[in-house]
Symmetry: D2
C-alpha cells in the first residue's frame, strides 16, 4: 500500500478491506453456501463439514490468490481453485461440491458486503465518539459569543453553541442515513452465472434465504449483479459524511489560525509538530479530514461512473467499483477518527473569541444598530447613517458605538427614542449573541431527542 | 448557453433554472417574506400589497440583475436593489420594508428550492412514462429467451423479462428515494445574515413558519446556509438515477449493434439518421443517456467537493454548488425523457434473440449440461467432459448437443441415466430461460406492488 | 443558461460557445470545404459562390438547428439540411454539392476548434493582464516582510515578493503550455464518414490541406474522431490554469480575512457588498476563482472519462465531451478575468504585514535563532533551549528576543559568541525576509526573461 | 492494501510507492542533503559518512514511521527522529547535523519524485512493449478489411491497419509527452521551512544544485511547495495515457464480443476463465484497462482539486495529492502492462472481419455507391435511390449490389456510365478498404519516423 494511504486512514479500516479480510469473507460465503445447499438438498450433507473446515484463512494462500487474480480476471477463480484443493485434501467427494451453482460475483460481492458491514460499524463508532466530544464542548462553551464570518469576512456575532449545532446536526443526520443506506445495501449477493440462480433449480431462492440467515444479512429480493444503485447510495452517503466532516475541519482550520486563535487542536506526544519550526502546533486532525473531504468525492464519482455496467456482468466498471470502495471507507474512517480524537481535547478560547469581536470596533453590530434606528427614521436613512459611520469607524479606528451615540444625540427624533444604554447593549457581544443562543438551544433539544 | 447543453437536455428543464425562472422564484421569496413579516408585525401591513405587486418579472430587468451579479458577488444584491426601486415607484414607504432581515443566501437558496421542486416533478413525470413503456414491453416480450452476457461475452440464456426487471427495479427505487430525498432537501432557507434570524428578534421562527406555508415548503428546523448535506443527498440521488438510466442505455446500445440486432430504437422524422450514411439508424436516446451518465457523476463530485463551506457562508464553494446544480438536473431530465420516448417505440426482435442463442451451437448450455451429468458422474468428471466437448464444438463448428448425446451414448453410466430427449431439452432456449422467467415473474409482482 | 453560470463566467466567453457562434463556425467549415473541394475538382466550381453566400447566420435558423439536434443525434444533421435548403434557394445545382464527403463530426469538431481558438486568445489576454498587474504590485511591495504560513499556521518570515513569485511563476508556465497545447490540439477535423476520407478519393488529403490554410489551422496529419488525446491535453491545461488561479485566490482570501488584513480586493460601485451587512467588503474575485478551481477539475475528469470512445465514433462520450468543453473555458475565463481586474486594484498593507509578524512575539524567528545558537552549542542543545523559551514566550506573552538575550547572557559560551545586537537582528522582520528577497529577485529575473 | 488494488495494478508498480520504497527514497534525500551541505560547508564533513551509513532501510523501522505519521501530520517527522537516532548510534556529533535546514515537504516531495522517476520508466517500458506488439499485428493484418462502426452501428469499411493507427498514434504522442512532462516535473524539492532556503543562508542554492546532481535530477529554479502545476501536468499526462489505453480496450471488448468475433485476447493458464461457465474466454486485459480509464480521471481531478494549496504549505490538499498520486500510476501501469501482454498474443480473425462486412448485404457500401451514381445523376437523386434500395435490402434480405445493378440497368443514363463490374468493385470489401489502407500507410510512416 502507498505510504500515504496509511497516513490518512486508520490501521483498523485498512485491515477491513485488506487481502486477508476479503479472502476470509469469501470463505465465509463458501461455507454458508455449502451449508444452505446441503440443507436444501442441492449438495450432499457430508460435504458441509470438510468445506466449512477448509474455509479458513490458514487453509489457503491469500497472497497467491490475489497474485493470480489479475490474469484470471477475478479473485474468485483462484480462490475457488485453492479452496477446492483444500477440501480435496480432507474429502475428495466433498471437493466436487464446492461453489456449486454460484458465480464469481456472488462470492466477491457478498464478501464486500460482509467487510463493509464491519466498516460501517467502525465509522458509526467514531461518529458517536465525535458527537459525544462535541456535546461536551457544548456543555462548557455553548454560550460564548464568537464572530460569525461569511465569505471569509467578519459578519456578525453568533454563539459558539450555534457553531456547534452547525457541526453536529449534519452528523446526526449522517448517522441515521448511513444506517438506512446500510440496511438497503448490505444484502447477500446470490444469482449464479447470470443472476437467475438457474443451476440450483427451484431451490435457488430457498438457498439464498438460508445463506442470508447464516451470514446475518437481509433476505435479498434478487441478485443485483449489475443493479448497483443501493450499493452506490451507501457510498454516496459516506461521501456526504466526509463532506460534513470536512466542513467542521475547514472551520477548525480557520479558527485555529495564529491571527484568530479561537481554538486549537490538542497537543501531545508526536502530535502536529514541525520538523523545521519548534513553535508550531499544526491542526493535523483537520488536515486529515480536509484530505478526506477532497478525496471522497472523486471516489463517489467513480462509483457513479461505474454504474452503467454491461448486461449481466460489467467489464471494467464492476472491478473499478470494487477497488474504489475500500478507499472511500478508508478516507471516511481516517477523517472521523481524527476529528473524534481531536474534539475530545479541543482547546476553546472564549476570551479570544470575545477579543476578536471587540477588535472590530463594533462594526459587526452595525446591522443591529441600523435595524434599531430604522424603527425611528426608516430603513433607508438608518442604513445610510450606519454606512457613513462605519466608514469613519474604519478610517479613524474609533468605536462605532461611540459614533452612533453621538449621531443619536445629534438627531432629535433618535435622541428621543434611543438611549445611550440601549446603544451600549446593541454593541455588547453577549447581547448580540442572544438570538444565536436561543436558536442553538432549540437545536440542541432537537438533537438530544434524536440521540 | 453552450449549443451542446441543449442537445443533451430538454428545453423544459433548461427553462427551470434559466435566468427568468430563478429571478421569478427570488421574487416569490421576497413577496412571501413581506407577507409573513407583516402578519407577524415585523414590517408594516401596508407594505405587503406594493411589494407583492412589484415581485413580478416585468417589474425588474432579469438580464441586468444577472449581469451585475458577478461583481456584486451574488444575484441577490442587484435583485434587491431593483426590487426596492420597483416598490418605491409604487410606494416609497413600502420600499423601506423590502428584504427586511433576510440575507442573500436566504433568497437564493429558497429560489433554488422552488425551481428544484419543479425540476423534480418533471423528472418524476418522465420516470413514470419510462416505467410505463417498459411495462408494455414486458407484456409483449417478457418470456422471450435471450442471451445473458457477462464481461461482454455470451454467458448463458436468460429471458427478456429478466433483463426488463434489471432495468425497472432500480427505476422504482429511484422514484421512492428521489421523493424522500426531495422531502428532506426542499426546505425554506431563512436565517438572516449569519443564520440566527437575529434581526427579526423573537419573531424570526414564526416568520419562517408562515413563509413555509405560503411557499408550500416544509417548516424548516433552522437555516442550512453551510449545512448542505440534505441538499447534496438529493443531488447524489439524481446522480444515482443517471447511473441507472446509463445502465439501460448501455444495454440498449449493445443489443442494438448491427451484429446483435436484438432491439432498435424507433425510427422517425429527424431521428437518429447519419449525415454521411443513409442506411444508419443511430441509438440516439441511448447516446443522450450515456452522455448524462458520464457527466452527472462529475457534478455530484463537485457538489460533494463544495461541502466544506467556510463558517457561516462559503467563499466560492457555495457559488460553485449553485452553478453545478442546474447541470445535474439538465442531464437527468435529458436522459430520462430520451429513454422514455424511445422505450415507447422500442423495437424488440425475439426471433433474432433466439437466432443469437442458436448461433453459439449450444455452448451457453454447457453449464446446465455439466450440472446434469454431474449428478451421475460427479462434478469434476462432468466439467472435464464438457470442457473437452466445448472445445470441439468451437473448433469444428458443430452443435454441442450432438456431441453430448454421443458422449452420453458412449458412457454406460450416463446412457442409463440421461436420455437424448433430456439432452435436447437442456439445449432448448425456452427450457434454458425457464428459471429466468420464474425469477422475473416474482420480481414483476414485487414491482407491481410498489407502483 | 442557468443564472449561476453567468455569475461565474464572463459574457464574452459565454458568447464564444453560444448557439450562434457554434453555428457560424460550422458554416465557416462548410464554406471552406466547398472552396477546397472546388479547387481540387471534387465539386463544381460554380457551387462555391452560392454555398459561401448561404454560409451566413442569417441564412439559417440557429435555434431551430439546436432544437432539432437532440432527436437527430447531432447538430450537423439539421444544419446540413437547412444549409442545403439555403443554397437551393440560390442555386439548385450547388445545393447538391453541400457537405460533400464530410461527416457530422468533421463539421462539429472543426467548429469547436475555431471557437476554442477564440477562447484561448481571450484567456491569454486576461492572463497577460493579470501578470501585468502582479508585476506592478511587485514594483511597489516586493520587499515587504510578511508572514509565511504553513498548514495554516504562522511559520516564518518571507517577503511579499516571494509570495508574488509563487503566484506568477505558474502563470508564466501556464501561458507557455497553453500555447503549446493549443498548437497541438487546434487542428482541422476532416475524415469523412469513418475517418478515411474515402469518398473524396485520392484528393482527400489535398482538400484537407487547403481547408486548413483557409481556416488558419495547422495541416492535420489525419482525422482524430476518436483520438482525443491532444484535445483533452488542452482541456487539462485549462484545468491546471484554474488550479494555479485558485491557489492565488485561496491566498488572497486568507490574507484578506478581518483578523489578517494584509490585502483587500478593490471596492467600488456594485462590488462585493453585502445585502445584510453594510460594513462588509467581500473578496468576490477570489470567490469566482475558487469556484472555478472547484468546478474545472470535474470537467477535466469528464473529458478524460470520455476518452474511451467506441471504434470510429463514440456513443455518448463524444457528445458529453463537447458539452463539458464550453464549461471548462467559461470557468477559466471567469477566474482569470476576475483576478486580473482585482489585481489591478489590489490593496496591499505592508504595515499590517509587519504588525502581524510582530504580534507573534518573535516566535517565527525561533528557527533562525536556534540555528545561530547551534553554531555555538550544537543543534540539539540550541533546539531544546529555543523550544523551552518559545513555550515561555507563549505562556507569558513576552518577546522571544528578550528571552533569548537573557539566555545568551546566562551562558558563558553563548555570551562570548553572540551579541545582543545580533539577536535583535535575528528577530528583525527585515533581516528575516532577506533570503526571501534574494530568492524572489532571482526569480523575477527568470520571469522577466520569459516574458 | 485493498485486495482489489492489486488486482488492477502490478506488483512492480505497487512496490514503487510502497512503504519501504518511499522511506528509502526519503533516506536517499537525507544522505544527499548531508553530502551537499558538507561540500558547501554548511555542516561538518565528518557527519557525512555516519549519516550516509544510517540512511539505509535496515537502520530504521519503516512501519513504525508510517504508523506515527498520522498523528505527526507528516511522514518526515518520525523519519527524521528515527534517522537522528540511527546516526547517533554511530556518531553523536553527526546526529546534530541530520536534516539541517530542510523541511518535511522537502524530503517527502523529493522522495516522491525519485519514486515517480522509477514509475515513469516502468510505464515507458510497457508502453514500448505495447507499441511493439501492435507493430507486429500491423505487419500481419494491416490490410484486412474490417467494419468501421460509428455510434456503435456499422458504418462503412475500413482496414484493420487504420484501426491500428488509431490505437498507436496516441501511444506515440503519450510517449513523447510523458517524457517532456517528466522532465519538467521531476525536480528536486528543497526550500526549507517556507521555501526560501533561509536557514542555509547564501549557500542554499549551491546546496540544491549539488543535491540535484547527486540524485540525478535537474537543478531546480526554486522550491515548488505550493506550486504544483508541473507535477499535476505529469499526473494529467498519465490520465490521458489511461484514456488512450481505455479507447484501445473499449474497441477490443467490442470486437471480441461473441457476435462479432473479430479478435480475441490470448488464452492460457489461469487467464480469463469463468468460475461458472467453462466455455468463456473473458477479455481480462481490456477489463483492467477499462477499469483504469474509469479510475484515473478521478485521480487527476483530485490532483487538480488539490492545487489551491494554502500559502506556504497546504493543509489537507498537499497530503491528499500525495495519496492520490500512487493510485494514478498503479492504474496506468496495470493497464499498459495488461494490454502489452495481451497484444503480444492477440488473435485477429480477418476472415470473420470479412464475413461481418458481407453479412450486411452491402449496406456499408451504400455511401460509396451513392457517390458514384451521383456523378451521373446528381447527389439528390443518387441519395434518394440508394435510400430506397437500402430499405429494400434490409426488408428483403437481399444483396444491395444486386439491387443497384438492377437499378442501373433500368436507367439509361446510369447504364451508359456505370458497368456491372464497377458496381461489383464498389461492393468489394478490399476495394472499400483501399483508401483506409492508403491513409494507414502514410500514418505508419509518420509513426515509424517518431520511434
Amino acid at each position: 500500500m502507498s505510504a500515504f494511504e496509511a497516513f490518512l486512514s486508520t490501521p483498523g479500516m485498512l485491515g477491513v478491506f485488506a487481502q486477508d479480510a476479503v479472502v476470509q469473507a469469501m470463505l465465509d460465503f463458501e461455507a454458508a453456501l455449502a451449508e444452505a445447499q446441503a440443507a436444501e438438498g442441492v449438495i450432499a450433507t457430508a460435504a458441509v463439514v470438510p468445506i466449512r473446515r477448509a474455509c479458513a484463512l490458514d487453509q489457503v494462500d491469500a497472497a497467491a490468490i490475489v497474485a493470480a487474480s489479475g490474469r484470471a480476471g477475478s479473485l474468485a477463480i483462484p480462490l475457488v481453485k485453492q479452496l477446492t484443493e483444500a477440501v480435496r485434501r480432507l474429502d475428495a467427494e466433498a471437493a466436487t461440491q464446492v461453489h456449486w451453482g454460484a458465480t464469481s460475483q456472488d462470492v466477491i460481492d457478498t464478501a464486500m458486503v460482509l467487510c463493509t458491514r464491519r466498516a460501517l460499524g467502525m465509522v458509526e463508532h467514531e461518529l458517536a465518539a465525535l458527537e459525544q466530544a462535541l456535546w461536551r464542548l457544548a456543555e462548557r462553551h455553548a454560550g460564548a459569543p464568537v464572530l460569525a464570518r461569511t465569505l471569509m469576512q467578519p459578519a456578525s456575532v453568533t454563539s459558539f453553541g450555534f457553531k456547534l449545532v452547525q457541526w453536529m446536526a449534519p452528523l446526526a443526520r449522517a448517522r441515521q442515513r448511513l444506517r438506512a443506506a446500510g440496511e438497503a445495501a448490505l444484502q447477500l449477493q446470490l444469482g449464479g452465472a447470470v443472476g437467475t440462480l438457474a443451476v440450483m433449480g427451484d431451490r435457488g431462492p430457498a438457498v439464498a434465504r438460508r445463506m442470508a440467515v447464516t451470514l446475518g444479512l437481509p433476505a435479498p429480493a434478487g441478485s443485483w449483479h449489475t443493479q448497483r444503485d443501493d450499493w452506490v447510495r451507501l457510498g454516496a452517503e459516506v461521501g456526504v459524511l466526509c463532506g460534513s466532516l470536512g466542513k467542521i475541519a475547514r472551520d477548525w482550520s480557520l479558527m485555529a489560525q495564529g491571527e484568530v486563535g479561537e481554538l486549537a487542536e490538542p497537543s501531545g506526544a508526536g502530535r502536529g509538530g514541525s520538523s523545521a519550526m519548534p513553535h508550531k502546533r499544526n491542526p493535523v486532525a483537520a488536515m486529515v479530514a480536509l484530505a478526506s473531504a477532497l478525496r471522497a468525492p472523486q471516489r463517489v464519482a467513480a462509483l457513479l461512473q461505474a454504474m452503467p455496467q454491461e448486461q449481466e456482468r460489467g467489464l471494467g466498471n464492476w472491478q473499478a467499483e470494487l477497488a474504489e470502495w475500500a478507499g472511500l471507507w478508508a478516507a471516511a474512517h481516517g477523517a472521523v477518527a481524527a476529528l473524534a480524537e481531536a474534539a475530545a481535547g479541543l482547546e476553546v478560547d472564549p476570551a479570544r473569541m470575545r477579543r476578536n469581536i471587540l477588535a472590530l470596533h463594533g462594526l459587526v453590530s452595525a446591522e443591529a444598530a441600523s435595524m434599531r434606528l430604522a424603527e425611528v427614521v426608516g430603513k433607508p436613512k438608518a442604513q445610510a447613517l450606519l454606512e457613513q459611520l462605519s466608514r469613519r469607524c474604519v478610517a479613524e479606528g474609533v468605536l462605532l458605538a461611540g459614533l452612533v451615540k453621538q449621531a443619536v444625540a445629534d438627531d432629535a427624533a433618535l435622541a428621543a427614542a434611543v438611549t445611550p444604554q440601549e446603544i451600549d447593549t446593541l454593541f455588547d457581544p453577549d447581547h448580540a449573541a442572544a438570538h444565536a443562543r436561543a436558536r442553538a438551544a432549540e437545536a440542541f433539544e432537537r438533537l438530544r431527542a434524536q440521540t
